[in-house]
Amino acid sequence: MTDTDHTPVLHPATEPLDWTYATSREAADLVSVAETYGVFYDGDFHKPLSKNYLATINPATEEPLAEVAEAGPADVDRAVASARRAFGGWSQLSGQERAKYLFRIARMVQERSRELAVLETLDGGKPIKESRDVDLPLVAAHFFYNAGWADKLEYAFPGLDPKPIGVAGQIIPWNFPLLMLSWKVAPALAAGNTVVLKPAETTPLSALHFAQIAAEAGLPPGVLNVVPGAGQTGAAVVGHSDVDKIAFTGSTEVGKEIQRRLAGSGRRLTLELGGKGAHIVFADAPIDQAIEGVINGIFFNQGHVCCAGSRLLIQESVAEPFLEKLKNRLETLRVGDPLDKNTDVGAINSRAQLDRIEALVAVGQREGAEMFQPSCALPDRGFFYRPTLFTGVSQSHRIAQEEIFGPVLSVLTFRTPEEAIEKANNTPYGLAAGVWTTKGSRILWMADRLRSGVVWANTYNKFDPTSPFGGYKESGFGREGGRHGLLAYMKAEGL
């Protein structure tokens, strides 16, 4: 005993604790970023024949991270030739051997998931808790899932004798760089194709580190090739006559250009494009979980999600209390340093995207919608945007029609299920929709009528390698995930 005169601290405490969590920053040096990166083909990195490099920056600090080769037509040509050379051997390898390569890659991704998560956050601005808890686990899962198909393809498609298509050109976006890589690379390789992958210009690093992993896994040279660059590099991949299949994820505008470009070529195409997801909440919904669903639907990954629930359709009878709860919840979102493990909303991916969000929000204000933003402080540097809510929105407003691809939610109301369906479907897009109601038969009634590739009922933004994902209408065609996803990389009589 050191102190016999202990006076108890009296209950009750005088003031409630003002508990602000201290910063808990993931160490940026968990990953070593090289100064420069080349073009990856023939199993190795090469200096770009184009001699051009593009800087990739950390959008949270605006500081440069690395100089990355900008692959020109000659570089793309080398990469395609590398993929072509590798195709014969890879496609004739037994399915089981191909499977084992992919399993091995899945394991290596798991082993290095922490560093890859940090890299993803550094290069793209997404909160570390999302890279760590969503992106990386799903990346590994996609390789595991598709690995197992490689030697079972004849069971995936009854009655077919499916064959790989050849060289797949894959162009992926900046919102989920490594996850989109896995959605494309894993099924393509499982089916026996070889790949030329073009990552997005603002987020090339994880794909290049992945190429290194593939090389370390002993994947035969040429099976996976990575050609970093911007739109022109993508155009070179699309335009290359020795690429047999194009898979693109990105904007509807670019998707249409690609579709035009491939017209008459006989080359295969799948597109995962934009969306303007309707998130429908009925009065009988599990309200507090619906609030979380709506928050997750639009603020997950700063709203840089093609299937984001960017249009909230709330039944009029509960609109007022629901919006009050929603606004209160917005106040608790933690916006800031993406490397802080407690950050909910990270950095906008690029200056250009921030400009676009700001421009569309200005349009929303001009159109007369009422804007709400929480009072949170934003970092002094880097690209950040406050979570934003627009109420009093009508279908005719641009913010109800155009994909903003940012943390901006447009709120509309409806009175009956028919009206909800009419409004939800009243868009050129058809990627995803959400429905919250406790009534089972209504869920099925709604699910039947929503013209969208994914319907999340009493949940939102769920992804799984076994679950096909993709759009109706101008949200694209083809599916990724499940056995449907493999079909995009196979050819056969009758297909």
């Binding site: 005993m1 050191t2 102190d3 202990h6 006076t7 108890p8 601290v9 009296l10 209950h11 009750p12 405490a13 003031e15 409630p16 604790l17 003002d18 508990w19 602000t20 969590y21 201290a22 910063t23 808990s24 808790k129 808890d133 009988d284 919904a285 599990p286 309200i287 507090d288 979980q289 979380e292 669903g293 509960v318 007022e320 209390p321 629901f322 009050e324 608790t332 493990k341 407690n342 406790t438 009493n458 949940t459």
Partner: protein, 314 residues
């Protein structure tokens, strides 16, 4: 402030109570688990961790509810509650010592003017299977004997068979019998089966006058869980929006580690905000939790991992 449900009138009819309970929104279990899992990834470090641990100590209802309880045991527990860590005087006292009715006078005497409250279980804890007049009588007696706080159990049988008015009136009657003592209403969530019913029972208990709603007796498995606590906190939030009344929350049973305690506080902080971060409105019903918190506090202060043998077991 608008709300999802409408408030209950002063002397409600059976129909009004049925409608009020039925008006509680449903709860999606999977989404509740997800929300809790997401909040569990909050990374609490350094000063904020120390602040949380000290707060958690002041929120403890240090509990012994056993057939083998003796005056000696209760005296030792009371001493521990007043001064949880004999070698570290900066560690605050707990909120209350929670005992069976027979032990109330012992605890009252042992705690003296320490400021630590005496909480007594009542209403034929833990089953509550007794006539109402006996429950009221028991409540009056424990308050007379010195209980500052009364932890009652609801009649789960009545609730599960849809006799909501009966449950409501019983809580009201016990609340009246409490006089100045604070009333904590135990829902025994482990026997309710679904979160929908937890939410309904929470709304019912608050409308009937509960100062706190509490998860469990500790005699039924599962006892407190973070998901069920979140559901109850959301009900408290709705009730506050509806009436302006701030009701407290007490998860009890099964909370053993400081890591658990911090997770509860994260859920509390993010659901109800700063206003509830006080022992006036949040308690942990626990027995072994306290020592784990003390070990964590010592580790934060010394930078050395601790052995349980250096902390008193009372």
């Amino acid at each position: 402030m608008s709300a999802i449900v409408a408030a209950l009138p002063e002397r409600p009819s059976r129909a009004a109570v049925q409608a009020y309970v039925g008006g509680a929104p449903s709860v999606d279990e999977v989404a509740v688990f997800e929300r809790v899992a997401s909040l569990a990834t909050r990374s609490i470090k350094k000063e904020s961790k120390m602040a949380a641990l000290e707060l958690a100590v002041t929120m403890c209802d240090l509990t012994t509810l056993e057939g083998k309880d003796t005056p000696g045991k209760v005296r030792q527990l009371s001493a521990k509650g007043i001064r949880p860590d004999p070698i570290d005087p900066s560690v605050p006292s707990v909120a209350a010592i929670c005992v069976y009715p027979n032990m109330v006078p012992v605890a009252k005497e042992a705690l003296g003017g320490s400021g630590v409250k005496v909480a007594s279980v009542a209403t034929y804890f833990p089953s509550g299977q007794a006539p109402l007049d006996l429950k009221i009588d028991e409540t009056r007696r424990v308050v007379e004997m010195g209980a500052d706080e009364v932890d009652m159990v609801i009649d789960r049988g009545a609730f599960l068979s849809g006799r909501f008015l009966e449950v409501y009136e019983e809580i009201r009657a016990v609340k009246e019998a409490c006089g100045p003592a604070h009333l904590k209403v135990i829902l025994e969530t482990g026997e309710l089966g679904t979160f929908d019913d937890v939410r309904k029972a929470s709304m019912l208990a608050m409308a009937a006058g509960a100062d706190f709603i509490k998860t469990s007796t500790g005699k039924v498995n599962p006892a407190a869980t973070i998901p069920v606590t979140l559901v109850m906190l959301e009900a408290i939030r709705d009730y506050s929006a509806l009436t302006g009344v701030k009701v407290g929350m007490k998860p009890a049973g099964g909370i053993r580690t400081s890591k658990d305690a911090i997770r509860y506080l994260v859920v509390l902080n993010e659901t109800l905000g700063r206003g509830w971060m006080t022992p006036d409105l949040f308690r942990f019903g626990a027995s072994s939790l306290l020592n784990d918190i003390l070990m964590q506090i010592r580790w934060l202060k010394t930078g050395r991992y601790q052995s349980p043998e250096y902390f008193t077991k009372d």
